[in-house]
């Protein structure tokens, strides 16, 4: 499982507008990489380009290379649908499917693709995924209840369970805790630590303490001005970035002087 990501010279456009410019970043397998930076600096856009989710928006396109274990993500023979099966994603706001039960939500990836499987096999996947997401003990008695009946933190863990039930290689998280209370946040941070052993995790966060707590590597994004594209300023070991950044902008941001 768990693959590495190699991004080189990536530009992301929305129509004619250059949103993210010239990003080169290696991401190691089985590590947690945090993207930090002020609002609008393109970190979420960049994250979405890692599983081609940005293509949902009309007119979006990229230039450059994204290699997953040496395979070009944007190669002409790559199908974005298959890419997304390999690279799971968790969103800012918990978004369980309102028409499905907890059980069906976990199996959504399989069910929506009409994958046939035995009941026992399905039960196994549900239990394993919910256990990995740390939700099993809380919901095992009510798997047939609608997913939208859970609390915000539980819903987000349900979404994580849903993302890992299709056994992706990489897990992308787009500010997964920004809509949650501190207790749910800390549960999810613990979860990230555990998931690291199996998945390559990339997380976008606004919360610098969170980046410091959960990540091995940290990448700082910034934009040089309004209407200018976002850029990767620097990337390195999290301890280094937080204690001894090379770029003055990184230091200013980390010390809370802007953003």
């Amino acid at each position: 499982m768990a693959k590495s990501i190699d991004v080189s010279d990536l530009n992301i456009y929305y129509g004619d507008f250059l949103a993210v410019e010239d990003v080169t970043i290696p991401i190691a397998a089985k590590s947690v990489t945090a993207f930090i930076g002020p609002s609008g600096c393109g970190k979420s856009t960049f994250l979405r380009s890692l599983n081609r989710m940005h293509e949902v928006i009309r007119g979006a396109r990229v230039e450059g290379k994204v290699l997953i274990d040496g395979q070009d993500l944007y190669g002409s023979d790559m199908d974005p649908v298959n890419v997304r099966r390999m690279i799971g994603m968790v969103f800012q706001r918990p978004n369980p499917f309102p028409t499905m039960s907890i059980y069906d939500n976990v199996l959504a990836g399989q069910k929506l693709n009409s994958k046939r499987m035995k009941k026992s096999e399905a039960d196994d996947i549900v239990e394993r995924s919910l256990r990995s997401a740390g939700l099993w003990t809380e919901v095992k008695e009510r798997l047939d209840r609608p997913g939208s009946g859970l609390s915000g933190g539980q819903q987000q863990r349900l979404c994580i369970a849903r993302a890992i039930s299709v056994e992706p290689e990489i897990l992308l998280m787009d500010e997964p805790c920004s809509a949650l209370d501190p207790i749910s946040t800390s549960v999810i941070e613990d979860l990230i630590h555990e998931l690291k052993s199996q998945y390559t995790i990339v997380i976008v966060t606004h919360n610098m303490q969170q980046a410091a707590r959960v990540s091995d590597e940290t990448a700082f994004f910034n934009l040089s001005g309004v209407g200018k594209p976002g850029r990767l300023i620097e990337v390195g070991r999290t301890e280094t970035i937080f204690s001894n950044p090379t770029d003055p902008a990184t230091e200013a941001y980390i010390q809370g002087r802007f953003g």
């Binding site: 081609r52 944007y74 790559m78």
Partner: protein
């Protein structure tokens, strides 16, 4: 379909059969609607043109097209216009009552009640018009003739049955009330709370608040509601056909007599059963005229709504 229009859209070349079928189905459904509408226009034209140029001898009425259709157009317009004049103030009043004068909870229930009026089939309106409204209106018409006979509208002689163009217009007014009320109500409810509160904070009474905050905001919405109501009134068939007692070819300002002009729609409904040969084509041609009139009215309504969207800054 959409993706082929934009060459830059994506680099992926893989298209799944499922996706292709599904987008193909939905695109063709959309195109089918274009075809249907083109079909409506085309078939009406094909079958209507012989009617427009039919010689008077081939037609039951013994008239060429224009003299035949003119009184009908007149009747259609006059009935719809009176209906609108009656209905617009009531619709505004009802909408205002529901949105601002009654308690919120109650307002919803009252809204349902008004919507019930929209659910009544037109044939039921027709029956009601003949069975209840017309006989009850007859003495009023007599009174109008006796007391206001000097006004051309009420010149009389008043119809004894009450099945006049005035009665037909009242039925139409009731029929278009729900749609206009619904639109006005929506728009009144959308009035920015801040505007209303600003007016009230200046010491305005509720009516002054309505005049200062609600009406300026809702003006174009009211106009488009009225236009949509007018469109409905122009096209309504059965209620008019049942209520109105018609004398072919009448063009008169008199609203309460027993000789009334028919409307296009009602005339088609009444004459189609026994029509044959060129007469059918004449009727279809008159339908085409009605189509064009309603199209223009709806088009104007749409244009007003769209302009409002641009200016309101909503969305």
């Amino acid at each position: 379909m959409a993706s082929t229009l934009d060459p830059r859209r994506k680099r992926s070349t893989i298209v799944r059969p499922g996706d292709r079928i599904f987008s193909g189905l939905s695109t063709s459904a959309g195109i089918l609607i274009l075809i249907v509408l083109a079909g409506v226009a085309a078939f009406l034209t094909i079958e209507g043109i012989p009617g427009i140029f039919a010689s008077p001898d081939d037609v039951k009425s013994g008239q060429s097209f224009l003299p035949y259709v003119w009184p009908l157009v007149y009747g259609t317009l006059i009935a719809a216009t009176i209906a609108l004049i009656i209905s617009v103030p009531i619709a505004i009043g009802v909408a205002l009552f529901i949105s601002h004068y009654s308690p919120r909870k109650l307002g919803q229930v009252l809204g349902y009640l008004i919507d019930l009026l929209a659910a009544v089939p037109s044939v039921v309106y027709g029956l009601w018009g003949i069975g209840f409204l017309a006989p009850n209106m007859a003495p009023i018409y007599q009174w109008l003739e006796d007391n206001l006979g000097f006004i051309p509208f009420f010149a009389g002689p008043a119809s004894a049955t009450g099945r006049t163009i005035m009665t037909a217009s009242i039925v139409l007014a009731v029929m278009i009330l729900p749609i206009m009320t619904a639109i006005c109500r929506e728009i009144f409810l959308q009035t920015p709370r801040l505007h209303e509160e600003a007016a009230l904070a200046l010491g305005a009474t509720r009516w002054e608040m309505a005049r200062m905050a609600i009406f300026p905001y809702a003006r174009s919405g009211i106009v488009s509601a009225a236009m949509l109501g007018l469109g409905r009134a122009l096209g309504e068939t059965l209620a008019v056909a049942m209520v109105l007692s018609v004398s072919a070819g009448t063009v008169t300002a008199n609203l309460i007599s027993s000789t009334n002009p028919s409307t296009i729609a009602a005339n088609i409904a009444l004459s189609f059963g026994e029509a044959s040969g060129k007469t059918v084509n004449v009727l279809i041609a008159s339908g085409l005229v009605l189509f064009v009139i309603t199209f223009l009215v709806n088009f104007a309504a749409r244009a007003i709504v769209d302009r409002r969207k641009e200016f309101s800054g909503a969305n």
